[in-house]
Every structure is written in structure tokens, then in C-alpha cells.
Symmetry: C2
Subunit: 353 residues, 2 copies
């Protein structure tokens, strides 16, 4: 089933409203989730509804939560997410960071007492769309990555996103998990019945594995780099820094805290948002021209295979969005049925085919 | 040959002074270069002297340069490096960023018209030692990395460093090139006569290679991740962001500019320094306690091999420094002879064995 973007987005909003989320918060959250699906980031849109429903029902997320600004300084602010889903708090946070950067040149906003906030890149892109450099990190709830040399999972996929304005509508936009690959890509290999490439996973003893089902046998994801020899300490180090920025700075629960996500009532997730004025030191138009020339030059790199041109961060997602705007957003049969059941159970109108 | 740290540092200072570097600048630059050698980052200390000597003699670096503050705002400043070696400008820049963060909560200082600045991590560590979060990036002069899907080098090893204060004298300190490995590690494989692991290099057509001598045959380094399948777009994207922060923000020459490092007189390298107050939102002591607990928990991860414990970014370098403080800093015979010749030619006293 493929649905037009507007229906897809509307369905998300209807479910969030039925769950008791205030209207404005639900509209923004649906925007952000539908943006992810439109851009091919399927792991962070509609597919999250079953997980959100479970956390909502077990009291891990407060759907009526309103973000509250608890620290406000010239260049920085801290938001308490009230134990709610992270999207609206994060949207508010990046808007505040941009406003501060507009006045002061730089803005940093932290969020604590939050939950899953969807696609990291959305918030970095907000900064770029407003003409600013953006940087975003978040801590994670799932613990599934073994540090370099480790035989035990200690942290999550811990993403980091960067964005910068270039040509209108085509910002540089890097949104990356700090693991070699996300769990979804390993699941795809399992579905295809083929082994995972070297470096994607390790078994329960920390030894290299090519088994796409290794997670169900106690195995782990690897940090970006894959193996110690190919510098997985870099992905591991980036993940550690993501936790320091997202949680230690804001006062959210550290992922290694035994009570992480186990405190009653909230997930305790933390986020970090940074906006930098591109006109700090020079005419912002010169900054943009440099980014445009730079990224155009990268795209013009001689390709190893003419069928696979060199791209720049943000290009693949924009390509997906252009296609899905035409063809609609595809949703698998199983997921659709599951979400439909959740919508019905919560009394939300069903508009998705 | 191994020399005590003090002699090693002194020799560096003597050469820099003989090259016409002002006394304070030479003392700081020698500190930073000797720090790299002491910590096992051999690629960024004494081994740079021959390269610096060549650039100095061809007028690409002005040894008498003094950094000049050309923009100064509450939270940000821009330094013109005067075409000099980057260490002293960068030391000044991070000190300014820290001072601004102390007053305002955040500080950003850019440097343009600079050259090689040594080990990225030194400057990030300056922030952590002062109790701040540090982030540092620099553009590169050497163009040796092919973007994902590319068969042409478009940028350099483009490092990024992050640091955060934890236990006294043990900051979290990540200093990473955004390539899978540095050229030095490939050279080591060639010296041992063994192939490079999958993903380290590609040949001149962008195809996977295991030839440690591939660079001499037109091949390239790969972005962190190694292959498209194992997410090299992440290393490539980080490198692009490093260039945006280091060069587009400060107004240095972009690496893809045809005149990059070819403009008469200067290298045109740019750097980026960010300091963030750890007490932005909470008691800095609580931040530090969280970082200490977090990094201790990571170190306590069950190891795959008890002989190789899990470490945290900064640990391996501190281990090297502890050993080299005792045993001295080793310098290879060939490098020593080359540096001795350079010292003699420039009239510098020779104190290194």
C-alpha cells in the first residue's frame, strides 16, 4: 500500500491526537514523523507507532506532556520534556537555538526528561533552512552496541546529525548512527537469507560474525569502522561523545546508569541542539557560495561506476522524497495492519487506505 | 635512539627559533609537537620537521607570523594566522574560545590563513583541562581520499577532535581522522610486506584493493566505514562537515578550490575551535561525575579477549605518555639524521643525542 503524503501525515496526527497529545504538539510531531517516511527514513516514521503505543500504555511516555524551559541564558537554554515523546520538545529546542544564534551568533539548547525524537536530521535541517549550521545528538534507549574489544552491549546507535545551508532547498545534511549499520539493514540481510558483510556484527563473545540473526543469539552491533583494525574506536568514540553532549550536559540519565529507561514514569532521554550563525566571520552569502561550490565539486567526482554517481549527504534522502511525493509513501501490509489496530483501539479515525 | 622528553622538546624549540619563529610562539609550538610525540602520535611531532622545513623554504609558511584577531564578538572570534604554522594561532584560538565560554557559556573561534597545526586533540584537551567541552576541526592540505563511489581524491584526512573533563588528568579525548586509517598505518603494512585489510584503500579506478602500495599507483584512502556497504558515507560526510566548519565558516580556502594550497605565499588552511561550559545547565561537578561513571562503566565492559581490555578515547595515548616519560621518546635513525641535517643547516644547536 502507498498513500499520498498528506494522508500519511494526517493518519499520524489522528493517532497522536487520539492518544491525548495536544493539537499543536501532534501537528508538529506528525510533520516530523511524516518527513522521515517521505525521505525514506522508514525506521523513524509510521513504523515507530507500535513502539510508541507500548511505551505510552506502560507509562514510559506522557502523551499530554508540554516542554518547559527550565534554564534560559543568552546563548543557551535547557528544556524539560515532561517525559513526553521528544519531537515537539526538540522542535522547540532547535527553534530556540536558532533564535539565540540569530542574536548572539551561537545557540545551544539541551533537552532532558524526553523520549524518542525521531530522525535526528530533521532538527539539523531546521537550522540549515533558517540559514544556520546545525548539530544535533541524542542518547538512545536501546542498548545493543559492544564497544571496541568488548563482549557486552553498553550503548545504542547514538546518532549525530550536522547540516549547513547551501543551494536553496538542498542543504548539506548528514544524519548518521555511530554504528557500522542500523539494525534494520541487518534484518534486511536476514530476510534475504544472506550473511552480513564482515564487520557489521559480533557474537555474544565479541568475536566477528556474519550471522544476520546474531542479535537473537546474544550478539551485538559494532561501532562505525566495524573492527578494531579498521578503527571502530572512532565510531565508539563518537557514540561516547554523543552521550556526553546529550545526557551529561543536560542532566538526562546516562546510558550506563543501571536505572537508564527503568526509572518509573519516564525514559530519561537527553538531546543536544547547536546552531551557529554562518555570518559569524564573513558574509553569509560567501559561506553559502563556498558550500555550494564545495558540494558541487564533490558531486562531480569521477565515479568508480557511472551508474552510481558520487553524492553529498542529504542527496539520497531528497531523491527518495521526490519519488515518494509522486508515488506516495509505501507501508508494508503487516505494519499497516498493526497500526490500523492501534488506531482503532485508541479511537482514531482511519484514513490510510 | 630515545631521548628524554625535555631534550626532545628543547630540540624542537631550537629548530623553530632558528627558523625565525618568535620566542613565545616557538615555546608553545614545541610544547604541542612534543606532546604529540610523548603521547605516541608520532605523525604530528618531530616527524613533521622535514615537511615544515620544505614549506618554510618555498615560502608556503611564514615562520615569523603573528596571529591577529580580525573579528571579536561576545561568543566568537576570528584569527588570521598570517600564513604561519598553525600551532600558536590555534593555541591562542582555543584559549579565546575557553575565555568566551567562561563568560558566555559558549565560545567559537575560527582561524584562517593558517597551515598545519599538529595534533587536533591537543586543542580539544586544552578545553577539557580548563573544565570545558572542546571540539576542534581542521582542513587539510594533502588531497588523498576518494568520496564514497568515487575514483578520484577530493579531500584529506580531515580530523575532528572532541574532549570533555572527567577524572583529573584523564579527560575523554577523541582525536580521529575521518578516514578508515591514516596513511602511516598503510605504510606500516607495506613495510611488513602484508596486504591491507579490506576497506582500507581503493585503486585508481575506485575499486577495492588490498595493496599497501596502492597510493604510489594512483590509489586512494577511504572514508571511515571503508566501503559503501559498510557506511563509508558516514566518514565521507564527517569529512565534508569538517571542511565546512574549518574553511567555509572562517573563510579559508576550500579543499576543492583549484587554488587550494597553491595560492602564492600561504597554505590557506582553516581551523575551528568550540568550547562549551559544562555548567551551562547544571553543577559542573555533576557533569564530571557523570562522565567519570560513564567512562568507568565503558572500561568495565566484559572484554572479548582479557588481554585487550576495553578502553575509552584518550586512554591509549595516556598509556603511551606514561611509558615514554620513563623510557624517553624514540626517534628512528633515518628521521633523526634528516632532522639533524635540517637543524645544522638552519644553525640550531643539536641536543638530541
Amino acid at each position: 500500500m502507498s498513500a499520498p503524503y498528506d494522508d500519511h501525515r494526517r493518519q499520524l496526527e489522528l493517532i497522536l491526537r487520539a492518544w491525548g497529545m495536544p493539537a499543536i504538539n501532534a501537528a508538529v510531531t506528525a510533520d516530523i514523523m511524516a518527513w522521515a517516511d517521505l525521505h525514506g527514513i522508514d525506521s523513524h516514521g509510521l513504523s515507530m507507532i507500535p513502539g510508541y503505543d507500548e511505551r505510552r500504555q506502560t507509562g514510559k511516555m506522557v502523551m499530554s506532556a508540554q516542554p518547559k524551559v527550565v534554564v534560559d541564558r543568552a546563548v543557551a537554554a535547557l528544556i524539560d520534556g515532561g517525559g513526553g515523546l521528544g519531537h515537539f520538545s526538540s522542535y522547540t529546542a532547535m527553534n530556540m537555538a536558532i533564535a539565540k544564534a540569530r542574536t548572539m551568533g551561537v545557540g545551544i539548547v539541551g533537552v532532558r526528561n524526553s523520549a524518542h525524537f525521531g530522525a535526528c536530521g530533521y532538527y539539523a535541517k531546521m537550522a540549515a533552512d533558517a540559514g544556520f549550521i546545525g548539530m544535533v545528538t541524542t542518547s538512545a534507549s536501546g542498548i545493543q552496541v559492544a564497544p571496541t574489544f568488548g563482549a557486552e552491549a553498553k550503548y545504542g546507535t547514538d546518532p549525530i546529525a550536522f547540516a549547513a545551508p547551501g543551494r536553496d532547498g538542498e542543504p548539506f545534511l548528514l544524519d548518521m548512527a555511530t554504528t557500522t549499520v542500523a539494525a534494520g539493514r541487518i534484518r534486511n540481510k536476514a530476510n534475504e537469507g544472506v550473511p552480513t558483510p564482515d564487520g557489521w556484527v559480533v557474537d555474544r563473545d565479541g568475536n566477528p560474525s556474519n550471522d544476520p540473526l546474531i542479535a537473537s543469539k546474544g550478539g551485538f552491533l559494532t561501532p562505525l569502522g566495524g573492527t578494531a583494525e579498521s578503527s571502530s574506536y572512532k565510531g565508539y568514540g563518537l557514540a561516547a561523545m554523543v552521550n556526553i553532549l546529550s545526557s551529561a550536559l543536560s542532566g538526562a540519565t546516562m546510558v550506563t546508569d543501571p536505572m537508564h529507561t527503568r526509572n518509573p514514569g519516564t525514559m530519561g532521554i537527553g538531546h543536544f541542539f547547536l546552531a551557529i550563525d554562518t555570518g559569524l566571520f564573513r558574509d553569509p552569502a560567501d559561506f553559502r557560495r563556498d558550500v555550494v561550490d564545495f558540494t558541487d565539486s564533490l558531486r562531480a567526482t569521477r565515479p568508480a561506476d557511472p551508474a552510481r554517481p558520487v553524492m553529498v549527504a542529504g542527496d539520497p534522502e531528497r531523491r527518495n522524497a521526490a519519488r515518494r511525493k509522486q508515488e506516495g509513501i509505501p507501508v508494508g501490509v503487516n505494519l499497516l495492519a498493526k497500526v490500523k489496530g492501534i488506531a482503532e483501539a485508541s479511537g482514531a479515525e482511519w484514513v490510510l487506505g
